[in-house]
Symmetry: C3
């Protein structure tokens, strides 16, 4: 059982889509979501205090500065803009897929866990996430 979720993004940040997944899953099995891009990630994170998302973004912006930052002068893949190669690096550091057990139609998430797409590019994007449910 497979489907595709399309997620429109408008700049770097976390876009929650937990509810889409809750509505789609059924039975008992394993849900896997997979992002078909190398400049965006999937992430499970706290869904209570939005400051957590702000701080996550701040941290990763410092860990992987844009290509026009002097500390990143060694980058060579820069033709697609200063946010492109750092987006690929963040996509290496963060998950491309997530697998979550499903128990009698319910995602086995912890109380404070939400599922997010983490956008790393500056311009608006249309992102594709493939969902697969196995027994």
């Amino acid at each position: 059982m497979q489907t595709r979720f399309d997620i429109a993004t408008n700049g770097p940040g976390l876009y929650e889509f937990t509810t889409h997944l809750r509505h789609w899953v059924t039975g008992t099995g394993l849900l896997t979501v997979f992002v078909q891009h190398t400049s965006a990630s999937l992430l499970i994170q706290e869904n209570a205090d939005p400051d957590v998302q702000t701080d996550l973004q701040s941290y990763f912006r410092r860990l992987v500065p844009q290509a026009d930052d002097p500390s990143m002068a060694y980058l060579t893949h820069t033709a697609e803009g200063p946010d492109d190669m750092p987006a690929h690096i963040k996509a290496a550091l963060l998950p491309t897929h997530l697998s979550i057990p499903v128990d009698e139609g319910h995602l086995a998430l912890g109380t404070w866990q939400g599922v997010y797409l983490f956008e790393h590019r500056n311009r608006p994007q249309q992102r594709h996430v493939i969902a697969h449910l196995s027994a």
Copy 2:
């Protein structure tokens, strides 16, 4: 086939639970373990020399210092203590789930691979890990 493993932790560090998994798996399939928290991780690492675990902790403590370190002054989610937001960041950098093939009742781990819960919080915690075995 699903179950839950409860792992008590007592401060930051790696807690091995490979043996629990070896005893539980059966047949041929795919084992997935999923941690229901956003301030702890799951990790496959070397199980031979305990210095590897010490060094891993040292590295991640430097990569993501506590919130009261001057370099982390930009953090805003600080009400739950100086170890809380860094724990969320480490949980983003390290796996929330692991999937391991199972071959005729045996985990397909390499010779030196062990399965660990990586605790990021300072105080004692009771951690829940959901295990799912699919064909």
Copy 3:
């Protein structure tokens, strides 16, 4: 349905094996690949411009310097060479396994996604990757 892919490496870097996977998968299901080592990783990354791979390596070499770099003087697991403990750290930061949906015999990769083994050790190695296909 399981098999093993053996990948010979000759120093740090990304080794693509997407084609091996494309030829092996069949039907509709979930492919999981798992590397049986704690000093190498699996990674999905851009397969168009080879500069992306060069830049990824440059970034991770700076994020996790060799043990003989003064900034890494705190490491204790150094008996197996200056590239060994940094290899374990990179193996913690990067995936040990990948799961990719398969749709009617086709890997559901995005247009620019390739599947790589990321070698972290300096000397030639023979790496084992277990592949599992579930329904």
